[in-house]
């Protein structure tokens, strides 16, 4: 008999969980005198509906700093983050609608971004992605395209990046990397074959936490291109750009 009631309790709790998952939407209770619903996710859109204190709204989705909510009568409108932060949960607690901040920056796992700069006098564009093994040590992959006067190049690099002060807002880093450079001489000027060479590089730079999930990043790298010719070629690269983390 006891085991039967236990099974009943387990089943009903399972059903509760299933019902919650099916519904799923977070319900916010208005705690200020009223909550303003706008017709679009922007500060200029007109307020077309208000929900009084004590009224409930379902939060359907978020876009940038705006939340689409649905009232009990089925009206849908957009509410700004600051207004959502003043609502309560059904149990009377303050709902958390936090923006990502500097703390998330020092705890980030993934980072990606785009940079542009100078590669020994030629324009260079690069994309990169990084993964944090620890807050101090990152693995990084990057692909760069170099637009030279006489040739175009693609550079793929894998690097280890050490960041000694992860909690600083302006945080320096040091990198060691290796990769391949593919050079394609311009067809209108030079009659030379394409070639692929190995590259080793060392560099340093800074990340500056900007706001939300965004960082500015600037770095210098010195590459050594191991060519088939007698001499290795040494190349300076300067880059700056924006990155985001999550």
């Amino acid at each position: 008999m006891r085991s039967l009631s236990l099974i009943m309790v387990l089943l009903s709790s399972l059903l509760c969980v299933a019902a919650q998952a099916a519904d799923g939407l977070f319900v916010a209770v208005v705690a200020e005198p009223y909550l303003e619903l706008r017709s679009g996710p922007g500060r200029g859109f007109p307020v077309f509906h208000v929900v009084d204190r004590g009224g409930e709204v379902e939060v359907v989705k978020r876009r940038t700093d705006w939340f689409l909510v649905r009232t009990a009568r089925g009206k849908e409108g957009w509410v700004q983050r600051d207004d959502m932060a003043k609502t309560l949960t059904r149990s009377g607690r303050q709902a958390v609608f936090a923006e990502p901040g500097p703390g998330d920056f020092s705890r980030r796992r993934w980072e990606g971004g785009l940079m542009g700069g100078d590669f020994e006098g030629a324009d260079v564009m690069s994309v990169y992605g990084a993964y944090a093994f620890t807050p101090n040590l990152f693995g990084e992959l990057s692909v760069s395209q170099v637009f030279g006067d006489f040739s175009d190049s693609w550079l793929g690099m894998a690097s280890l990046v050490a960041q000694p002060f992860p909690k600083w807002r302006l945080s320096p880093f040091f990198a060691l990397g290796t990769g391949l450079i593919y050079t394609d001489p311009k067809s209108t000027l030079v009659d030379e074959d394409d070639r692929t060479d190995q590259v080793g590089s060392a560099g340093a730079g800074v990340r500056w936490y900007l706001t939300r999930r965004f960082i500015l990043r600037a770095e210098y790298r010195r590459h050594v291109i191991f060519q088939n010719k007698d001499d290795n070629q040494e190349v300076d690269e300067w880059n700056a750009g924006v990155g985001f983390f999550f």
């Binding site: 989705k61 978020r62 700093d65 958390v96 936090a98 324009d123 395209q145 067809s187």
Partner: protein, 223 residues
Amino acid sequence: MECRRRIFLLRWSCALLLVPVLSACSFMRAAEPEPYSAGEPVIEPELERREITEAYIDSEDFEVGAFIGVMNVEDFGTNLVYGARAAYHITEDFFAEAAVGRTDTDQTSFEDLSGGARLLTDDERQLTYYNVSLGWNVFPGEVFIGSDHAFNSALYLIGGVGNTDFGGDNHFTVNVGAGYRLLLTDWVALHIDMRDHIFESDLLGDNEYKHNLEAHTGLTVFF
């Protein structure tokens, strides 16, 4: 006598042991919270405190889609262009966009008139570009169709950098333009875009800036 002495010693050792134990107890007491003050519940309910965070709310900051239109490649005629775009909406005002597009080009007037002289192979005649741009929703608003339908919209300015692969070479390319986004639903948008792709080329002798104008329309979805 011996027995009494033992008891005496035992008592003292017990007392000596008790001193540190009692003092430790009183110290621990001081660290404990005040037993009860008015206005507080006597029994603290053992509820699991669940923080409601944004992770529980579906966020739709990404936008992907495809487009089709016409593109004029300077000296090489105007042709169909098609491609794909992905955007991330950073704030209500700004978004970052990555796009790729492809178009086939015609022969130049010179090639047509000379009758037979060809500047480019068929493969080189195909133009492929990719770029990364920053957009600014400069005029957000609503449009009304009839008295029952209102759609959110935005006129945006956009510009960025990228690469154009044309005529057997890669060209560093700057793009600038403007576009119009009409949200058909909360998550489906119609785009109309005008873009100028500017790159340096010496394909026809002199090295000069080429302006390549593109107009396209596309559909995107937010997720």
